[in-house]
């Protein structure tokens, strides 16, 4: 574990061992429910979650890199730890996810500042070490940039769908990718979120503490806002239409195209028997082989693995994507035509 100073714990409270921290400060959770002075921290914790639920980043009492008042420091950490207690008591997973993401983005800001800090070498080193310790990403400073091995870059960047993160749009040299401090930190956002999320998920759920009930009830109400309904138009996406077209014309659809079509239709609930006739016109059609392969994809034979439909990104690489404006915002053909209400 990294050893952290006071202001560093306030910036990166998820690095602290919660129980130990409270103990060191001489508090118990019960005190926060009863002591009128401490109780306002529960309200602060609730607000911290509410801000996260709204998709915003919690504004801390930290001013710039410095702490406004010495006393603000523990309050920062307490409100984070209490927020976790509230979330655990409410058991609302959507809120936990949103909170983890917002906290990750908050920490991101500090990490970025610390990385870019030319005057304070120790702060920069800490940020580099946090990134290395938590996410095993070794970054090095090179002139104005941070460089990371291409393979490490890819492990993280594949989670992004924006084109600027594609390797082709990066400065690559000698097996390394060049990043600004902002991009370096952005690269690990998801992992940071996952890390914070797992810390919360793995934390023990305490029994209800007197004085916490109101805030917990409010959280349960708050989470109701986030249930969504989806509608589907039922129309096939252009890639699937194209594949069906090719087959209908009796032309050759490459193996990857057949894989896409079959996995797509299987995911939409069609049976192997319903799908098989589609391939009848293929130049190399063989009923036995077709059924064998479809059953394999459906997981009804072979290893039992059910294969899923490839992502839009993969289909682009395989030249199987024929995106139209209606495809905007989707990352797999399965999402085509789904509208959130």
């Amino acid at each position: 574990m990294l050893s952290l100073g006071q202001d560093e714990i306030a910036k990166y409270p998820f690095l602290a061992d919660a129980g130990q921290y409270l103990k060191d400060k001489g508090f118990t959770l019960e005190q926060f429910g009863t002591d009128p002075d401490l109780k306002e921290l529960i309200t602060k914790a609730y607000e911290r979650i509410q801000v996260a639920a709204d998709g915003k980043i919690y504004k801390s009492d930290l001013v710039g890199d410095q702490v406004s008042r010495e006393a603000a420091l523990p309050r920062e950490v307490f409100s984070f730890l209490l927020a976790i207690v509230l979330l655990k008591l409410s058991g609302m997973h959507t809120l936990i996810k949103r909170f983890a993401l917002a906290e990750a983005r908050r920490a991101e800001k500090y990490l970025e500042k610390d990385l870019a800090n030319i005057s304070d070498e120790s702060k920069k080193q800490l940020a580099i070490r946090i990134i290395d310790d938590l996410f095993s990403v070794q970054i090095e400073k090179l002139d104005d940039y941070f460089v990371i091995p291409v393979s490490d870059y890819l492990k993280h960047s594949i989670n992004f769908h924006e084109r600027e993160w594609k390797l082709i749009n990066r400065h690559v040299e000698k097996g390394q990718v060049f990043l600004t401090p902002h991009e370096t930190v952005r690269l690990i956002r998801k992992e940071l979120g996952t890390y914070i999320n797992s810390k919360i998920v793995n934390a023990k759920t305490p029994t209800m503490i007197p004085g916490f009930e109101d805030s917990v009830n409010k959280l349960v109400m708050l989470s109701k806002k986030f249930s969504t309904f989806t509608m589907t138009t039922g129309e096939y996406p252009p890639c699937i239409k194209h594949a069906i077209d090719v087959l209908e014309k009796g032309e050759n659809l490459p193996h990857s195209g057949r894989f896409m079509l079959a996995t797509f239709l299987l995911s939409k609930g069609q049976s192997v028997q319903q799908i098989a006739p589609l391939f009848k016109n293929a130049p190399d059609y063989n009923e036995r082989v077709t059924l064998y392969q479809l059953n394999h994809l459906a997981g009804t034979s072979g290893s039992g693995t059910q294969y899923s439909c490839p992502s839009c990104e993969k289909l682009k690489t395989q030249s199987l994507c024929f995106a139209t404006s209606e495809c905007e915002g989707i990352i797999t053909p399965l999402q085509f035509g789904k509208k959130r209400k």
Binding site: K166, N169, S319
Partner: protein, 373 residues
Amino acid sequence: MNETDIKFLESAFKKYYFEQFGLIRVPERTSEREFGYQKFNSGMTRHISVKDDKELHLLLMQNVPSDVYCSNAYYTFPNLPMNEKDWKEADLIFDIDAKDLNLSCRTNHTLSICNDCNDISNNSEKCIKCNSTKLEKKSLPCKNCIDSSKIEVLKLSEILTNDFSINKDDIHVYFSGNEGFHIYVYNTQFQQIGSRERSELVDYIMFNGAIPEKFGMKKFKPNRNSFPDFDESGWRGRFSKYVYGSKSKRSKIISELLSNGYSSFQKTLDAVSENIGTKIDPNVTMDIHRIFRLPGSINSKSGLTKIHCQDLKKFDAYVDSSFLSDDTVEILANCPIEFKLKNKKFGPYQNEKVSVPTFVAVYMICKKLATIA
């Protein structure tokens, strides 16, 4: 394929595996690989583990496969079903195939074999005899196909060595035995990356998905100073060399690009991708569980050997990969176009009985253009 043809091919292949076993490159860490093979007219047998070269030799002699494959991946248990194998890592592999290069020569030497009436004709969309669209294409690749594929291999190795700092000695190039090249890359930082990461490498190498911003073109208020210099490394450099043509034209071309605007720049990028991108088969590189043709084995699409290219420039695919005997055989040949093997011209044959060397007979039977008479 009929029984007599299969017997003939099997005996030729068996002789090869008996006499030329030295050409087989048993991959390093043999026992961690998955092997597989096909026999003529039969499906794939895979999930086989092989201890060493002796065991492999035995397998080849006992089964006389039409094709032999070996995984680029390393597993703890290569003989178990896929999800129990315990994948460890996989060598980076590339496939460059002349059929993917949009070459103009292709129509001259691609034949269509009708699946319904077996008629063989020059490349067409429909069978001339029975109008069926169920056609199997067979190509008898030419020198241009191989030379163009070599250019792609060189483009690939330039990117691998310069952009990814890969040692030249770790890049091994093989002629596939048919109409392209297989490239293996060892000891890199990419051994352990998965399929999605490899697909990003593919897009990088093929120049897929580039955006104007990378080359200095912004949507709003673009600045000419951010356009790439002629001598820059990586894609910015390759792009400018191709688009500017020469250092002196840089300024003029940038002005043109700027005045044409952002969306036109995107179109330029998509268009140049065809020229400067390396044309690899994305599916091969993305696949981390693939069993890939074993180096030194015979490719049953041609009867030629997948052979290591020590010196790519001098490599002559249709001489250096042919190892079957010169003994003559009588065949019934139906091959409307001419082809060249071991520096000799053969064909065209119009449904006629001819005596040819074994390596030619095997080539034509593999291409379904002849049968044993």
